[in-house]
Amino acid sequence: MSNAIIPLLLDSLASAALIFFAAVGLTLVFSVLRVLNVAHGSLYSIGGYVAASACLFIASRQLNPYLSFAALLFSAVFVAAIFGPLIERSLVRWTYGKSEAVQILITFGLFLILEDLQRLVFGVQSLYEDAPMRLLGTSSIGGVVYLNYQILLVGMAVLVVVGLRLLINHTRLGRLITAVVTDREMAQSIGIDTNRIFILAFSLGVFLAALGGALSTPTSGIAPGLGADTMVLAFAVAAIGGLGQIEGAAVASLIVGLARVLAIYLAPSLDAVAPYAAMLVVLLIRPYGLFGSVTARRI
């Protein structure tokens, strides 16, 4: 087993990167809008479908295969630009301040609609295009061959954490978001256009979900049903990290990634339950998650 320590750690990081992309958008939207978006998984898979379709188009036209990397990014931007404002203005805004049950019911309805929409537009078969994965080649680390694309994903995840932190702490938009999160009424009273902040924050969440889906397709393809699986895992990560905590999502992704990888290496039959066992342990010790805290209810 000693020869497996380096692969185990690397696999944990690679697995955590994918899990983080699935969860960070969910947690960001909750932190700003206080809405648990159950349709988040569908937006993840729509990002995957759009990216796979774009990469397949590039391959079919025999364009420069390196354009696939740009296609992954622009697919996420495209999905966010279309679905972010549309969903926020038409559905999500009606749930602000409503009970969690109403929010979950409405976004669950949206989830069902988006799942069927995907079947209608992209069909029911799996889509594959692995050009970005193939182009980057492989590296042998600790006696195991890894895809350089896996390592790129780890780097991308770190970049997203740092980027979000910089955005929130060191930009005007970030300060506006912080003001709205802290006290919506007060923010409105000093002239902040909270509707605009909500649209931007929700669209940023959609972008992160779609980016996660887009980045995962070169290695795993995309098929119907991915949205539901992603949503459940993303929720577990968000709960472990503390709902609304971006750094918490990053640490929780590492914990879940390590739990899954340890299960596969040491007790494969526990693979499926490992993320939820980790969630259970964390919530028993810290009911509001690792980075979460009790907030007083405002009357």
Binding site: N3, A4, P7, L8, L10, D11, A14, S15, L18, R119, V124, Q125, S126, Y128, D130, M133, R134, G137, T138, G143, V144, V145, Y146, L147, Q150, S216, T219, S220, G221, I222, A223, P224, G225, L226, D229, R260, V261, I264, Y265, P268, S269, D271, A272
Partner: protein, 466 residues
Amino acid sequence: MAFKNISLAFARCLSSLQPRFRFNWELPHANLRVVVDGLAGALVIGVVAATPVAAQDKPSSVGLGVFTFTSGPAAAYGMPGKNAADLMIDEINAKGGIGGVPVTATFVDEAQGAQGVIAEYRRLAGDAKNQVMVAALSSATCLALAPIAEQLEVPTVGWNCDTHQLLMDGKSKYVFRPNGNTVPEFIAYAIYLLDRKPDVKTVAIINPDYAFGHDAAKIFTAALKALKPDIEIVAELYPKLGSPNYQTEISRLTTARPDVVFSNLWGADLENFVRQATPRGLFTSSQVVLALGETVLQRVPLPDGVIVGVLGDGWWMSPDAKANPETVKFAEAYKSRFGEYPVFPSIKMANALIYVKAAYEAAMQKNGGKWPTRAELAAAMKGSKVATLTGITQTRADNDGLVDQIVGVTVKTSAQPFPVIGDMVRYKGDSLMPQAGQDPLAWISTLKPEFAKSLPKPGSYKIGER
């Protein structure tokens, strides 16, 4: 006919009353449900039992309920089955249908889960037009539908249904499997592997986490241990069915450094696994055995030397298939209609429909040309021997099928742009099956190396040598 309609309407009324009782009258729900379901079930059985009398007249069409996966990751395996059903039904109808009656199919998507599939089965079975069900692909679906088929007395032909557990009790009257099952299918791989790589010492397994994956691992391991007791299983992984990502599993398999990696992943799972494992060198560091590898030959660039097979004899390029003009015609028609050649699930489906047609013809021949009842159809299937597109399927007294098993390795040829199966062997179906009623694992444990030596060798199945 009027009685049937009234009965069905009454059964539906009874079922619709159930929520009223529950919400308004506050009667004990569990007890009431038993009563209502019992009454409704009894009426449906009554309808079904009354149906054969009316069915003596030739119907306007022969309805088939065809169960397969048409959505989700499993559709990569299920859709070729559906495509083949569409094509074969068209071919049957072009030749005048069955006994002059055209065939129609109602497709049911198994991806909806067992509860939905059972409801669809009951709905279709309630219609006398649907005399036969071609069900199903998934072992789990087949196990769920088998008792209902017996209850409703509807002949049900498992077009895939690999699990050996399906007909183990030997009491089935209406469920038939004109295929092999997990026992001969995975013993065949163990024998072929040991013939091709006799010095194998360590094996790792990665199978889907449900009955098919676990059964296959048990049978393959038991056969290897019986034939070469010093073999060690160094890793057993069972990822969830439908997993999109196998990167950690691939790392785990690599660190175990096995001589052989065995897998019965299928559908999109198999495609994902191959796409992810190939660049990471798994196919060069270990001998890989992909039990359902033939299904991805035309889609994924598999390297040479991977042991693959067709879980039966359904290889459209086998010497027997090539020698049969009907098979060549079917394969070309399939290619021109769907853009790729039929994979073995397509052949299994086509063979299942040939089996159904043969049963109708045998039943009509037996009763003087009259349209057969469901019971007569089932009787015609029992003990039958039917020539299919790729060989012979024989139905034993326990309704289980005997078909040959073809195994080989991937090779490149100039004839096709994708790898094909070379160095083939064709094991006789009955040589790898325990007797009816015998415990399969107990039987496998009695196998000796001499048993494997008595069987044909890799490369022995060639054109002109059958």
